[in-house]
């Protein structure tokens, strides 16, 4: 039994929406990072599904690019979080109020 490609696309859209909603709603910076990762992986799932549907290996290659970039991004992001945590002992976005907005 094979699952139709459109189901994978729907799953990827749901994951993407969950991630986007999480970034906008959650206040803990670490959770916000995880939501960004979820969005990137939703894109990866879409790439793989499209590659399968189009019978084109290009889309699968693109996933590697996205994975590498996501890893680099997390390294830098966690570095910044650690730097801020040392100073304030908190990583909740609402505590970051030195500036307006």
């Amino acid at each position: 039994m094979s699952v139709p490609g459109s189901w994978y696309l729907a799953l990827s859209a749901v994951l993407f929406a969950m991630g986007a909603l999480g970034v906008l709603v959650r206040r803990n910076v670490l959770i916000m990072f995880m939501c960004v990762e979820l969005m990137l992986n939703a894109a990866n799932l879409a790439f793989v599904t499209f590659a399968r549907m189009l019978d084109d290996i290009g889309g699968e290659v693109l996933v590697f690019f996205v994975l590498v970039v996501a890893a680099a991004e997390v390294v830098v992001g966690l570095g910044i979080v650690v730097a801020i945590y040392r100073r304030r002992r908190s990583v909740v976005a609402d505590d970051l109020r030195a500036m307006r907005g």
């Binding site: 993407f16 290996i57 889309g59 693109l62």
Partner: protein, 576 residues
């Protein structure tokens, strides 16, 4: 890309060897030089026992950026003689626009490296990190500018952004800096994820991520169900909107600009915007040109809101860096005018705008860096009151640069605004051109406010002629009269004059003269106030940057031809 990759993989499977694409190194040499220079500086400094001297780091960075600049000029020669080409299996393109972005980025790195030198010396920070990150992030912007494939644009975007996140959080001693880095990171990551999803949808709809192949696909096929493609295009628009700070997606800009170390803010305003916009132009104006009827209306709305909100909100900012952040949003609206036109003329007008804006804005932030003083904290508008009396040259440079940003004639800013407005008008968006002119008029207010503040006398320190003070500071007209009658550099001289003049005009002469006299009567307090501020000697690196950017802005504002023809030849590979 996809076809080539498939062929390569098929070949690898059958013969066990990978077919490597032919690489024409000239097309990526500036990028390689920038990254290579950064790596050399990093390795060298880690081999030493003590931190590498800042002067060495800055000179090496300047050298690297100059080398990249020269290589970009070689590329320009190649483009002029043999035309635009794609390289490395169509992943990278070398055309007029990519050369322009190479020149822009390498000059931006060059100028910022000198400001960074002064900044690090003043703050007593050692180590090569700032300059290395500038080089790497510049390389990312260059990759974005020469990308010919959506995924390469994404790679360039991330190389640019990840280095900028660190740069924004660079100043470990100010809490605001770390906060700026975190905010930029979260919203930057969010926008990148949206961008990647947009790429995925476009790939699903067209079967490729290569920009010319997308254009060819759209030309070949009439899409009956183009929902997927349009959704992808919309997500790409949102991703770009975040990066170049268009209005509904601009919320990070004021905080990040305020919190980042000032030289970095200038670099961010110049390079992140230029890198984002060049890719924006490449994707929308050339690849998706056939869908222009679909994307022009939303971009019309975005441009309108960006122009107006950027100009209006800047009016009541009390922090100069926040004000310049909103001003940069307003400038993004102007560049968008060129994109919205969706013509070759619009593209070259937008590129010209980006080029001259980047020089102006780096110069402006260099002045802000110097005025900010040790600790990088004095960025309130009040810090600028009486600047002309304390540091006349600095105030003069700031005046020129802000007037150029406002679009005053005989500066590059004027030519840039004129060109995008003409491009918009010739493409039938006359209403948008009118909005742009209105927003330029509003924007002129807040630039002039800072300029006038520079030429106002400092606040009386204590017990000096209290009833006269409100009169002298009474309004812009008085200040203007003061500005017109009294060149900044002669203010110290006017101190000597000030004592006799009020009596001489006490009988009530012409209003303007009286105003000047009253203002001059305040001059002794200027001197007193100036003496209290410890006036640091002007740092050499920042001053070089300021002088270069002022010269560029005025010289090419009067002698328009060279830069304008450079931009006019900077066409995209697939012309709109």
């Amino acid at each position: 890309m996809s076809v080539a990759v498939r062929a390569a993989v098929a070949l690898a499977v059958t013969t066990g060897r990978l077919r490597l694409p032919h690489i024409d190194y000239l097309s990526i040499l500036p990028v390689m030089v920038m990254v290579g220079g950064g790596v050399v500086i990093l390795v060298w400094s880690s081999l030493l026992r003590r931190p590498l001297d800042v002067a060495w780091v800055s000179s090496l960075t300047v050298l690297t950026a100059t080398a990249a600049l020269v290589l970009s000029l070689f590329q320009w020669d190649s483009v002029l003689t043999s035309g635009a080409h794609t390289h490395i299996d169509g992943a990278v393109v070398m055309d007029g626009a990519s050369v322009l972005i190479g020149v822009l980025v390498s000059s931006a790195v060059l100028l910022t490296a000198m400001v960074g030198d002064s900044f690090l010396k003043r703050e007593g920070v050692e180590g090569p990190e700032l300059h290395v990150l500038l080089l790497v992030s510049g390389a990312g912007a260059m990759i974005m500018g020469s990308a010919n494939d959506l995924i390469v644009i994404f790679l360039g975007l991330e190389i640019l952004s990840i280095a900028l996140y660190v740069l924004a959080a660079f100043d470990a001693r100010r809490a605001k800096s770390g906060e700026a880095g975190l905010k930029y990171f979260v919203l930057g990551g969010f926008s990148s994820a949206i961008f990647v999803y947009g790429i995925a949808l476009v790939y699903g709809a067209t079967g490729t991520t290569n920009l010319p192949e997308i254009a060819a696909y759209l030309a070949r096929n009439v899409l009956l169900h183009d929902g997927l493609l349009l959704a992808g295009l919309g997500l790409l628009l949102v991703g770009f909107g975040f990066k170049v700070a268009l209005v509904p997606f601009h919320l990070w800009t004021p905080d990040v600009y305020e919190g980042s170390p000032t030289p970095v803010t200038g670099f961010m305003a110049a390079v992140a915007k230029a890198g984002g916009f060049i890719a924006f132009l490449r994707v929308f104006a050339s690849s998706f040109h056939l869908l222009a009827p679909d994307w022009r209306p939303p971009i019309w709305v975005l441009a309108c809101v960006t122009l107006l909100l950027g100009a209006v909100v800047a009016l009541w900012q009390q922090d100069v860096k926040r004000m310049l952040a909103y001003s940069s949003i307003n400038h993004a609206g102007f560049v968008l005018l060129g994109l919205q036109a969706a013509t070759s003329r619009g593209v070259s007008a937008a590129l010209y705008y980006l080029f001259v804006y980047s020089v102006m804005v780096i110069g402006t932030f260099a002045v802000v860096t110097v005025v900010g003083g040790r600790g990088d904290r004095r960025h309130g508008l009040e810090a600028y009151r009486g600047l002309a009396a304390r540091q006349p040259l600095l105030a003069g440079a700031l005046t020129v640069l802000l007037l150029a940003q406002a679009g005053v004639p005989f500066t590059t800013g004027f030519v840039a605004k004129l060109e995008v407005i003409r491009a918009a008008a010739s493409a039938g968006s006359t209403d948008l051109a009118v909005v742009a002119m209105g927003s330029a008029a509003i924007a002129a207010f807040f630039y002039l406010r800072v300029v006038l503040l520079c030429y106002q006398p400092a606040r009386p320190v204590e017990g000096t002629s209290a009833p006269e003070a409100p009169q002298a500071l009474g309004g812009p007209t008085l200040a203007l009269a003061d500005l017109g009658a009294e060149p900044s550099s002669s203010l110290p001289g006017s101190v000597a004059l000030a004592a006799p003049v009020p009596e001489g005009l006490g009988a009530g002469q012409a209003g303007t003269l009286a105003a000047v006299a009253v203002a001059e009567a305040e001059a002794p307090t200027v001197a007193a106030g100036g003496a209290e501020d410890e006036t640091d000697p002007l740092p050499a690196g920042a001053v070089t940057t300021i002088v270069l950017s002022v010269l560029f802005t005025v010289l090419f504002g009067i002698w328009v031809e060279p830069v304008a023809s450079f931009a006019a030849h900077a066409t995209l590979l697939v012309r709109p």
